[in-house]
Symmetry: C2
Subunit: 362 residues, 2 copies
């Protein structure tokens, strides 16, 4: 039951293959490799689970491996250099292909290495988390963190192919699966009310990791993101809608310290706050807001902002987000389920009220 | 007597302004800056000479400065990070402009920082060496070195504008001026015999740094390079012609250790070797070869390969050049003055004879 989705970006178009057991499909992988050389980039968590199978699928190629430490704290220049070191030590030339086997951090770093090695080589993604499958697979964003800011150094670099094997999600911890579901719900909220309704009816199948449900949410999420990205490859306009819940979410992640809440968890609570604010501003009905909150709760995700951050601190944390332009805070809000917009046109007093109301009681 | 050349690259097109005293033209600079923030990147050699004038020209902007150590040995990840550190410490956002004030190393590093900062910000070049004015101003190549190879990490990133002030060449050491002239002669040799004839008639004016001569060689060199790059932005085909003399030259630079010969000097001797080989292969007349060698000599540049490298070592050094594809050494050769081609179709015995004949007697 393999589904293939085409991401249309002119000469940088590429396919996303979605289905169970695809990691063993040497034929699909071979079709996306231009030369004879492959550099497989993975981490210490994924390597024991899937590295040998991936290497076997690349048996027809000269395939080397870099195994990086696992974790957002390693998404830095020093770890990135390990990929360049390996490429040069094994004399990979411009016709090499860098393959990311892992979650978002591995995809971001391997993709950035591919963007910069000899000014750009081919890149293939094999995302192994739901979040990476529904989010990092589309958009071409790659990069690393700087001590003074997340994702501050990077490039847009599109993969030649994405292979989303739903079977590898079997080994994903439940908490990480749910964090991925947060981004899935996001697509329903911002532009696909039909998908939102489907999720209301099928959340149990998703959480039970039923293959058909997983294939559907990955395909539908990637399709939604691909449509947005095709309209705005380098992030000037509609692409900002993908940040629903993210400005609130980044405030949570920064305020609590990275690693406390998962990104998807912070986004989930952030989407609830965005919905609440949208109701207070007369944009969204209370009923739509309740449905959003209920679906997020059913996915086992947080619906309240953490009590540990008080309102003033929260506002301050939101103000340093990248989405601030010329000093004005811009937020993604909702006019209803499936209808998002970006605006700086809201009363900050009401934002404060909303944050206060959305905070968990301490 | 300002000349403006348009580099045509679709939506990435940009102007090159050439003339004396342009560093003070705040109006030209302002026209190329999108936001209010400017990060001036320069080095310890250029800063005492021109930094204050450049800062004055950006008086209407919030302008910060990074002064890097001078030299190819600092074109590395650690030095690059200093640019990111400064951008983040001063809270530059996506609408910032990175300005390179310096030679090729500063242009490569500042350009690469601009390519990667927040996945790409605006870039302006103020090249202060003749080599940078005629070579790095066009092509969009940016990057840094890796301990295992030069320019191995980088990106294609076009500037918004290049400002080539011929007056700043007054302070350029003579040896560096001549090294720049090597690349100027190269354009005549590979595709512009009329320009070659002009150089034969006007080399004295060039070496005397007469403004009209400098403006002419910069304009003509950039025009030639721009035409090649427009036809081949990401280096798949004709752009390889720009490497005349470079495979020999890289062998010299690597073999003697970087810093022994200047890049332009190595290219000069390499072009003489390429011309000699072209004669031996029956491609070029002896007379054309003699004219090439005579012009290079008149520019005060080396016309012989260094005696310190014997033939076998030289061949080995050439084989590790980036231009080797699938194990076959490809060279830029000449069918005559103004007519270059790339070929792997030559007898290696004749290449050895040519290298032996071109070596200086020890």
């Amino acid at each position: 039951m393999m589904h293939t989705l085409a991401v249309s970006l002119g000469e940088r178009s590429y396919p996303i293959h979605i289905g169970p057991g695809l990691l063993d499909r040497a034929d699909l992988l071979a079709a996306s490799i231009a030369g004879r050389h492959v550099m497989l980039v993975t981490n210490t968590t994924v390597a024991p689970l899937y590295l040998e199978r991936a290497r076997a699928a690349f048996a027809g190629f000269q395939c080397e491996t870099v195994v990086l430490p696992d974790g957002e704290q390693y998404k830095d220049m020093g770890t990135l250099m390990q990929i360049f070191d390996a490429l040069l030590a094994h004399r990979h030339d411009r016709r090499t292909t860098v393959v990311a086997l892992g979650g978002g951090v591995i995809g971001d770093m391997a993709g950035f290495a591919a963007a910069c090695y000899q000014r750009g080589v081919a890149f293939v993604q094999i995302p192994t988390t739901l979040l990476a499958q529904v989010d990092s697979s589309v958009g071409g964003k790659t990069g690393i963190n700087h001590p003074l800011g997340k994702n501050m150094i990077g490039a847009f670099h599109q993969p030649r192919m994405v292979l989303a094997d739903t079977s590898v999600l079997d080994t994903l911890p439940g908490r990480e699966l749910r964090a991925g579901v947060a981004e899935v719900i996001k697509y329903g909220l911002i532009r696909d009310d039909e998908f939102f309704v489907w999720l209301e009816a099928n959340m149990d199948a998703v959480l039970a990791r039923r293959t058909d449900a997983l294939v559907h949410i990955i395909e539908r999420s990637c399709r939604n993101k691909a449509e947005v990205v095709a309209a705005d490859e380098h992030e000037g306009g509609v692409r900002a809608l993908l940040n629903l819940g993210h400005t609130f979410g980044h405030a949570i992640e920064t305020g609590l310290g990275y690693g406390e809440w998962l990104h998807g968890e912070a986004v989930a609570a952030g989407m609830c706050a965005a919905a609440d604010l949208s109701v207070r501003l007369g944009r969204m009905t209370q009923n739509d807001c309740d449905r959003a909150r209920a679906l997020i709760a059913r996915a086992g995700l947080p619906v309240e902002l953490p009590a540990a951050l008080d309102v003033e601190r929260f506002i301050k944390l939101m103000a340093v987000d990248k989405k601030v332009e010329a000093g004005r805070l811009r937020l993604v809000l909702l006019d209803g389920i499936g209808r998002a917009l970006v605006t700086a046109d809201f009363d900050h007093k009401i934002l404060r009220q909303s944050i206060a109301a959305c905070r968990a009681s301490a």
